[in-house]
């Protein structure tokens, strides 16, 4: 049922990563993740300029049901966050791969290729049930 977009990379914590032409990476949570969480009411994002290690808890998405950590898919420095989520956290529900992106990183090294591709992530969420 969940949408898994081709061309993106994924983590087992249900983040997606898109590498831009300038080498920065955009991070969000997957359609599967937003569906599991339910409607978001609050998103806490890392400050711009913060350096993150891969796997570090760096954002929080709070839904009507529960709070969930978002982990940095790769190491890097936060260069932008999605300010629109301040007033409209449910953009993540409506458009998890588009307007609902969370933050943009300048990665320390180009290691996004170590993440799951769309096919592997589809298998992963199917196995998770």
């Amino acid at each position: 049922m969940s949408d898994v977009q081709a061309g993106l990379r994924y983590t087992r914590d249900h983040e997606w990563v898109r590498t831009e032409a300038d080498g920065t990476v955009v991070v969000g949570i997957t359609d599967h993740a937003q569906h599991q969480l339910g409607e978001l009411v609050f998103v806490e994002l890392p400050d711009s300029g913060r350096t993150l290690t891969a796997g570090e808890a760096c954002a929080v998405v709070e839904s009507v049901k529960a709070a969930s950590d978002v982990y940095a898919p790769v190491a890097g420095t936060v260069v932008a966050t999605n300010a629109a989520l301040d007033g409209q956290p449910n953009l993540v529900n409506a458009s998890p791969f588009g307007d609902g992106w969370l933050f943009r990183l300048k990665p320390d090294a180009s290691d996004a290729s170590r993440l799951l591709d769309a096919a592997a992530y589809t298998d992963f969420i199917a196995a998770e049930g």
């Binding site: 339910g38 609050f42 009507v64 709070a67 449910n90």
Partner: protein, 361 residues
């Protein structure tokens, strides 16, 4: 095996996300629980609450039995009047909370209890019946619909049997009228005007469809929970249970400890608690920052520590609110530990929202 109400197929067809609740497969929402919440505050929504147990009580001593069973006093009720009460064990712990209606015929009552506590409630009731000329009958042949919101009455009344319309339209809060097939109470769990309707299955399914056609929004358990939290209404199993007394659960007002000596289950224990001094109370909290308070989070007040019993996001106030059990002396500001960090919150007296108006801004 989970049970399904007679409306299950209609819920699925309407796009409901179904979740297990109290032994039943029930709709959590039909797309957006926040939209459903706003629909009830602004216009009208309908909930299938058929998972709740409807128990009819008859018999020459049914009134005396209910006065023995319940912490609130049904002796205060006139025909067609309803009462909220706790049912207590001998230690004064809450077995369940419920609504009891006095019906028009003599010694005829109707009790509505929670779904998840149905079996233990019935077992407890049966165990206390000995010596009373009273009979209880669970009604598993009915649907129960809660139509709630400022427009609930005007949208529902035209759909009722002709003979009930005028009376239902004029029904005061915590009163009920009925025909052989349909029972309408002006009660609810949202803090808005509206009805709870108990009706035969076949008629109930038709009524559900007519309400939706009339523009009433179908609402699930998600919105039901945020609406009741804003209304400052307790949820059994969270805000009180068999280990907690109504006196520390914001329910002291529902316990009729009059000097009449009425011997109800739990009375002796509550009187002992009162004499010793009640050390805790249930209060409302409004978070002063962004974030969401959740059940189980520790609360620090100037008078000592406490804990959140129900927490969440208030769609009406656009801020997080909670019910918390704290020391009796607590007031003013406090700190709630959310994900390891203390966040400032204000202690308030529930309800947070009533009839669409924010009372604890």
């Amino acid at each position: 095996m989970t049970r399904r109400t007679a409306l299950y197929d209609r819920h699925v067809a309407a796009g409901a996300q179904i979740v297990p609740f109290g032994g039943w497969d029930m709709p959590l929402h039909y797309g957006s629980q926040i939209d459903e919440h706003h629909a009830v505050r602004r216009r009208a929504g309908v909930f299938d609450v058929s998972h709740m147990a409807v128990i009819d009580v008859t018999g020459g001593q049914s009134r005396s039995w209910l006065q023995h069973l319940l912490a609130n006093d049904v002796g205060r009720l006139h025909d067609g009047q309803a009462l909220y009460s706790c049912m207590l064990n001998e230690s004064g712990g809450v077995i369940d909370d419920l609504i009891v209606y006095r019906r028009a015929e003599p010694e005829a009552w109707r009790v509505v209890v929670n779904a998840g506590t149905r079996d233990k409630d019935l077992a407890w009731m049966r165990s206390t019946l000995r010596g009373f000329d009273a009979v209880i009958a669970e009604r598993d042949d009915v649907l129960m619909l809660a139509v709630q919101g400022p427009a609930a009455r005007e949208l529902t009344v035209p759909l009722l049997p002709a003979g009930l319309r005028a009376a239902a339209g004029a029904l005061r809060g915590f009163h009920a009228v009925e025909s052989p097939d349909l029972f309408v109470g002006a009660t609810g769990y949202t803090g808005e005007d509206g009805f709870e309707i108990i009706v035969s299955r076949a008629t109930g399914v038709v009524l559900w469809e007519q309400l939706l056609s009339a523009g009433v929004t179908p609402c699930g358990l998600g919105a039901r929970d945020t609406l009741r939290l804003e209304a400052g209404m307790n949820l059994y199993g969270q805000d009180m249970d068999e280990q907690t007394s109504p006196l520390v659960s914001g329910l002291g007002w529902t316990v009729a400890l009059c000097a009449d000596g009425r011997a109800f289950s739990g009375r002796a224990a509550l009187e002992k608690q009162q004499a010793a001094g009640v050390g805790q109370k249930l209060v409302g909290l409004v978070l002063a920052e962004r974030g969401v308070m959740r059940r189980g989070q520790p609360v620090t007040t100037a008078a000592g520590g406490g804990e959140i019993t129900s927490g969440g996001f208030s769609p009406t106030m656009n801020v997080s609110i909670a019910l918390a059990r704290v020391p009796t002396g607590a007031s003013g500001s406090c700190a709630v530990e959310i994900r390891g960090a203390g966040r400032p919150a204000r202690i308030v007296k529930p309800p947070f929202v009533r009839n669409g108006r924010v009372l604890c801004a």
